[in-house]
Amino acid sequence: MACSTNALWAGETTWFCCGAAWGPCGSAGGGACGNCRSSAYHGAWPNASQACWDITRPDLCGEGGIARRGCGSVMNVRHQCSGATVCISIADCGPRTKSFCGEALCCGGTCRTNRVLDLTPAAFSAIGSLSSGMLPVVITE
């Protein structure tokens, strides 16, 4: 299944590690879907399941309309500022939106608020620098 251009959401993305890994990431495991790998173009979605939603609670930050998209769902993620894109599949639940309500990243006069997506290092580094930690993105499917 290929990525497409139908609007899904916009916000901030962070990055996380999963699967076989070095350092503190060694304890991360394969994520909620069991197949998450840092070296793959994978992502974590805050509404991957009801149990996932109960943990992430983006609605507490005003992001209540995020659609359910389960393991294997495909999304296109575009860096709002540079336009760089990466096509990912959902392999985990996250990020913990509720713990960081109100964050915003702005560029070109447009701000994106709240972390609504987590990307693996492979996916995040395809559109930005890992050392930035967070990027404003537009998500389509």
């Binding site: 495909v74 109100g102 560029c107």
Partner: protein, 211 residues
């Protein structure tokens, strides 16, 4: 706000393609390169900061490598991937290297972990555009606060996080500040830093907490 400097990058088509071509020629011709900065800022964002085609997720647009460094021979990093594969990563003068801060190959050691992206060469090596050494970005809970370190819980493990000159905090979306006095025990915290393989602790570059 965390990451605003990065977020402000503007597209640079000519520098992007010039850089990728430059990386390729640099790797083929050897790692001694003069005048690399003439292509513009040698930061990790510049290289891929332009629209690219959207493909099936199984199709890789750039080459990405993760693993631990088993040997350093000249400017070539020999890496053992976490899934058992091996990689050779060519570092050139055009490669953006990060280890706690932007750095040079001298700071990289055998045993370090890394993530790298770049261009695959005909011989199978990777001409690196960017290499992030020991970088971690962890969702944690603050369990203790000392002058020179934080004690964190990560996946039910205790993790010691040392402060460094670059350490900064962001509170509830505010701008980064070196003031860590508003951190509180029990707070969830996103910590970006660098792993120390010698003792399994980390150096903290940025700690982000919510309300």
């Amino acid at each position: 706000m965390s990451g605003t400097a990065d977020a402000g990058k503007q597209p640079g088509h000519s520098s992007r393609f010039g850089r990728r071509g430059f990386l390729t020629s640099a790797a083929v011709g050897g790692a001694t390169i003069v005048g690399a900065s003439a292509l513009g800022a040698l930061d990790a964002d510049a290289a891929f900061a332009a629209p690219s085609r959207s493909l099936d997720p199984a199709v890789t647009q750039t080459t990405f490598v993760e693993g631990r460094i088993g040997a350093i021979r000249g400017s070539m990093l020999h890496v053992a991937g976490s899934l058992g594969e091996t990689h050779r990563i060519q570092v050139t003068n055009a490669t953006s290297l990060w280890k706690v801060r932007t750095t040079t190959l001298d700071a990289v050691e055998v045993g370090d972990g890394l993530y790298a992206r770049g261009v695959e060469m005909p011989d199978g090596s990777i001409a690196a555009d960017a290499v992030w050494v020991n970088i971690v970005n962890l969702y944690t809970t603050i369990q203790g606060i000392q002058k020179d370190r934080l004690h964190l819980a990560h996946h039910n493990r205790e993790l010691v996080a040392h402060t460094v000159p670059e350490t900064a905090a962001s509170y509830a979306g505010s701008a980064l500040t070196p003031d860590l006095s508003r951190l509180r025990i029990g707070q969830p915290a996103q910590v970006l830093g660098a792993w120390r393989p010698a003792d399994d602790s980390i150096d903290v570059v940025r700690v982000t907490v919510g309300h």
